[in-house]
Symmetry: C2
């Protein structure tokens, strides 16, 4: 292994970590997969947020899902984004452009100030700017806040990216069958206000920003890459 090769590998890992972060920052919900105490698989969706080199998962006290997960037990957080459907000339060649990540490691339970900070971070990710529009936390809320954290290390995650155009390998490409890509977007609709509000109270900046952001993903292009770092 030459120094050049080592450098190239490091560059590749850094670039894949940047892509991992981008996926994690675009999506809202992950699936938390665990092994129960009797050795069976279990999974539950959770809101999450990336906070630097760790993932924060939100849970309220008494949530059934969190009872399955003993503090320090290993779990997998899986996040995916489907970016487009790829339509080819043969059914078998149909596919999708997607990004998919798993991070595996021990879950750490956050309490007290750490849990409150995690809740703030989760809120800032879900509805940026909303915190500034509200009052501060109540004592009862602080007691009830539970969050989980999972570290992103150098070698406990895997990223798979499928990002291609229609790649016809036929000798003769039929010109009477449409092929191409159909993008898939996440969008926010018109806000629905609570009925008891005064008519002249406008939707706040945090909500308007999400509604007006338009389609959340526009990634289309050629090439298929996968990054394994585990």
């Amino acid at each position: 292994m030459t120094l050049d090769n080592l450098t190239r590998l490091k560059e590749k890992r850094r670039s894949e970590r940047a892509e991992l972060d981008r996926l994690l920052d675009e999506e809202l919900v992950c699936t938390l997969a665990t092994v129960t105490t009797d050795g069976r698989p279990w999974a539950v969706p959770m809101f999450y947020a990336r906070d630097g080199d760790r993932l924060l998962l939100h849970g309220s006290t008494g949530a059934g899902a969190l009872r399955q997960v003993a503090a320090g037990s290993e779990a997998v957080v899986a996040v995916h984004a489907i970016d487009a459907i790829v339509l080819a000339t043969s059914l078998f060649e149909h596919s999708a452009n997607y990004r998919s990540a798993v991070v595996r490691g021990p879950l750490v339970r956050l309490t007290g100030d750490d849990a409150v900070a995690a809740l703030d971070r989760l809120s800032d990710t879900l509805v940026p700017g909303r915190r500034a529009e509200l009052r501060g936390h109540l004592k009862t809320e602080l007691v009830a806040t539970v969050a989980l954290a999972l570290e992103i290390t150098d070698d406990n995650w895997l990223l798979k990216v499928s990002d291609k155009d229609v790649d016809e390998e036929l000798d003769v490409i039929p010109d009477d069958v449409w092929t191409g890509i159909l993008p898939i977007h996440r969008t926010y609709g018109e806000p629905v206000r609570s009925p008891w509000l005064p008519d002249d109270l406008p939707a706040p900046p945090s909500v308007v920003a999400l509604r007006d952001a338009g389609p959340q993903r526009r990634r289309q292009g050629r090439g298929q890459r996968s990054g394994t770092n585990r």
Copy 2:
């Protein structure tokens, strides 16, 4: 347990199963969660389709994910849909309207004609009407097709539905803080045609139908229900 109660319970289960089916039919991607041979959790996203009382999962030969899963081993298929963000007066009370299902059971590997039929069913779900626009399957494609099936039984699934408006329990509701619901939609964008196609070949009905379908979910309302059947 009276006959009336038994009847009511049966009705409730039937109604929850109908809601489970609706969620499974609306979504495209599930997370398959398993336990590896060394007892660790693993998860991977997969396209799926409901086919009556079973789920069909798509996999191509050699897919790393499927190597983790021995035929007959137990797995969990988790599907979720986030329908809206619910914005309240306190950060702690913010939540989301969502639907979430898990189905747990042994995976069955389909081959030959069964696998081909599963592929057809998956395609019909992902892009309805596309099959009619294409040629039939090639022999090589038939050999390469792998699919997995998971039965939906009376007692191996759990459905959680959170579907509420802002429910302020304050004695005095502030009238200067906007609260309400922000719907989240999945939409399809403008199709991007392959560059080698003749200009006068229009986008086909299957693609146009998806693009024109508009937002995929409009479920808003009051009430929180969960159905456990496992």
